[in-house]
């Protein structure tokens, strides 16, 4: 490891800090330098299986037109790379021979803390309309009239026109068709996302006239699909909805289970990002959706001390792409941090970020900084663990891979990342959790 001047240290640390933002998924276009394909290290996940489900034959670059509408859940731990993977997938599929992909970022469009199916559907409509406008896709008004009519009959009769903003009214007067609908859905989505006083009223309107809305939207989607084919922009529409994995456990249940019929009344293709705990729900989820899990990067098999070289190498590559290797006092520290992350990408970046905070650009990342970072992360997890959880965590860790006791408690622990799920479906507590005194006590008793 070469010596660095104080200025160099500070510059490299600041650059690394910028690269460790984990609140934003990587864009396959602009963040190419930071991207590392981790799928080989994830085990049984492969985009190809998902593509097959979507009727895509990649070698021939063709889409099976007869493939039925797909409703796919794409789940995994928060921070394991779902959003990045979804964007990669969207880029791969968005092409004339395959899909016209509409990427809806629920975090950007809506208030994720209180999300209903109606909100998502309005946001999907909004993003679709905006994208069609941007692509200059023409639609016949005969197919958009029904949605306009739904709006005029259901929304305008119940809500004061001014309440929805003068912009909408002006727009409604001067346009019809796509510009009108784009304006309409943007206004409705904004009213919901900013938590306006009319949020609940709008939801009520959608809920109580949903079959009418769905029927009109479906007719429009069918026409749009035909126009997209003619314009050589895609064979079918695919909505990729990111951010729905942030739903709280109860809200995710309402969204993916209670209101599933409403979601499925819209006839198109969908991939919804999903929190991991919802995937452990009994058979209902798998009856209604095709389920794909994005596993953690598996750095070791359960209950073995032998770490797997390929995942370690790939995660090392990920670190090197973000943090200059000269900032590490010892290259062994990389392995230490990777092992402490349990293969959870965002936690790995968090640990690196905590290390940088320890050094403050004044020294290299050394063992003391790494230990402090690990302790810091462990203390964060400690806050979400109840005393009674430790016994269960120890029990799961000490038993073999087949021991995956699904319960309210284990679902909560999975949701909170205290318990990590690996491919081939086995669980283990997060490595930093295992460093906690309470865990040690439970393990020794």
């Amino acid at each position: 490891m070469s010596e660095l001047t104080p200025d160099e240290l500070l510059t490299l640390t600041r650059a690394a800090k910028k690269n460790l933002r984990y609140d934003k998924p990587l864009d396959p276009e602009t963040d190419q330098a930071l991207l590392v394909d981790l799928n080989a290290a994830r085990g049984d996940f492969s985009q190809d299986k998902l593509l097959w489900e979507l009727g895509v034959d990649e070698p021939s670059l063709s889409l099976d037109d007869g493939n039925p509408h797909q409703y796919i859940l794409f789940g995994g731990h928060r921070g394991c790379g779902k959003s990045t993977e979804l964007r990669r997938l969207a880029k791969r599929l968005h092409r004339p021979e395959l899909y016209y992909v509409v990427l809806v970022d629920a975090l950007k469009e809506l208030d994720i803390n209180n999300l209903h199916y109606s909100d998502i559907l309005l946001a999907q409509a909004k993003v679709l309309m905006k994208q069609l406008e941007a692509n200059d896709v023409k639609i016949e008004t005969i197919f958009s009239d029904r949605l306009e009519n739904w709006f005029k009959q259901r929304v305008f009769v119940q809500l004061n026109e001014q309440a929805l903003g003068g912009k909408l009214e002006t727009g409604a007067k001067i346009t019809t068709g796509l510009p009108f609908l784009a304006n309409l859905f943007a206004t409705l989505t904004t009213s919901i996302s900013i938590g306006s006083t009319h949020k609940e009223e709008i939801r009520d309107i959608v809920r109580n006239s949903f079959s009418e809305f769905a029927s009109a939207f479906n007719a429009l989607i069918q026409h749009i699909q035909e126009q997209l084919q003619q314009a050589n922009l895609g064979r079918k529409i695919l909505f990729v909805v990111d951010g729905t994995d942030r739903l709280s456990s109860n809200e995710a249940n309402d969204f993916f289970i209670r209101d599933i019929h409403q979601l499925k009344l819209i006839r198109s293709n969908f991939i919804y990002c999903t929190p991991i705990d919802i995937l452990t729900e009994s058979g209902r989820i798998s009856q209604e959706f095709s389920v794909f899990r994005l596993p953690m990067v598996k750095i070791a098999e359960k209950n073995t001390a032998d770490y797997l070289p390929i995942p370690l190498a790939q995660l090392s590559e990920l670190i090197h792409k973000r943090v200059d290797s000269r900032l590490f006092a010892d290259s062994q520290l990389l392995d230490k941090l990777i092992k402490a992350s349990g293969g959870h990408v965002r936690d790995l970046m968090r640990l690196l970020d905590y290390c940088l905070a320890e050094t403050q650009g004044r020294k290299k990342i050394d063992t003391a900084a790494a230990d402090a970072a690990i302790k810091h992360l462990a203390s964060e997890y400690q806050r979400v663990i109840q005393q009674s959880d430790y016994a269960l965590l120890v029990e799961i860790d000490q038993r073999d891979r087949s021991h995956v006791p699904v319960s309210e408690v284990s679902r909560r622990l999975l949701y909170d990342l205290v318990l990590l799920e690996y491919n081939s479906y086995w669980w283990q507590s997060h490595p930093v959790v295992r460093t906690l005194p309470a865990y040690q006590l439970a393990a020794n008793s």
Binding site: E140, N208, S211, S215, I260
Partner: protein, 452 residues
Amino acid sequence: MEWTQELDSRHSGAVLRLIDLLDDGESFCWILAEYNNQPYRDTVIAELAAEYPQQAILSATASTDLLADLPKTAQHASVIHLIDTHNWFDNQNQQSLLHRLNQRREWLAQTINRGIVVWLSETNVNNFAHDAPDLWAWRKAVVDFRNHSEDQPSHPLYSLRIDENNSDYADKQQRLIDISEYLQGKTDYSLADGGLWQEQARILASVGDYEKAIIAIKQGILISQANHDKRATAICYGDLADILHQTGDFNEALRIRREEELPVYEALGDKRSKAMTMGKIADVLYERGEWDEALSIYREEELPVYEALGDKREKAVTMGKIADVLQARGELDEALRIRREEELPVYEALGDKRSKAVTMGKIADVLQARGEGDEALRIRREEELPVYEALGDKRDLLVCQTNLALLLQTIDPERYLSESRQLLSQALLSAEQMNIPEQQVIRDILNKYNHS
């Protein structure tokens, strides 16, 4: 015979005719009695007990050997009321029983020197004529004990809604013109165009133009087939069955459900759509008075699917249909329990105000039937009407206004005459603006009140 309040005065002639035909009941005669309301049928039978204290009621469903039970019952009864005969027309075994009765009419006449009153629904009178022509030929009469629609305050305007369109007639006409202009001259129809034919059919059916609606939906079917979209084809067939159901062509509606819709959903592995189609088959059977069969489908073929899928909404909808059947059979307490405990909480939890209001309306129906008019009135005024007004749902609103007017007339015709007329006038105006088939029923009721 002493006349009681419970019998409709318009059936006085039918009762007198029946007594005249039965005479003292001591000689064989075969009379068909047509009805459409089971509690009312039971009331008529109970009233006849004053004339025939020795009369007996024999359930064709409960009897394991009807040919043996009939002569046995005849030994002590003066008149035999043969009820629950709907199974004769449902399955093969029972049909063969009707066939045997038909073949053995002479044996019947010789063995049973009693008057037999066979209670049949309207559809089954027709079926009887076809399935047992010899026995039919020996009927002494068909006596009509049907309640007419305006006499049934529970669902005077109930109709199958296949169109959610809330538009006025003028707007619907404009939409039909726009669609026709767009489709005119087109030769190569896409699936989206097929959707326009389907929309046309739904609008036409909503204004009662069934003939044109059928032509339009058949075009939709052809386009879906040409585009090899099996699901779209099945959905169009479902619409055709809905329209035929509305026109009363139950047999063809049933055939389409069973032969055109169901196999597609089975092949697609779509359990929910299959269950829904089974439910619609049961709806037809319910309309035909085949209540046991309808109940059995709701309970055994539909509910378990929704339970397995965790679909609380559809489960609640099906429970509501079960309550409809129980209500029609006079099992009001159980119907009420289902509405309150198994339907309402689900719609409340889902925030579905419209379904909640519709269910409240049905609770009001039951209360009305039990004579609890004041509570029924409160519900109609406070929990139903304002919801439809707030939702802007014109069709539900006009139905509710009509039901409210009918309820007011059962509570105090004189006191509420003016209010009832006002409600009916509002309902009629909306129905005329929408040009929906219900307008004639409302007009008839209003005319009746205007002349009272």
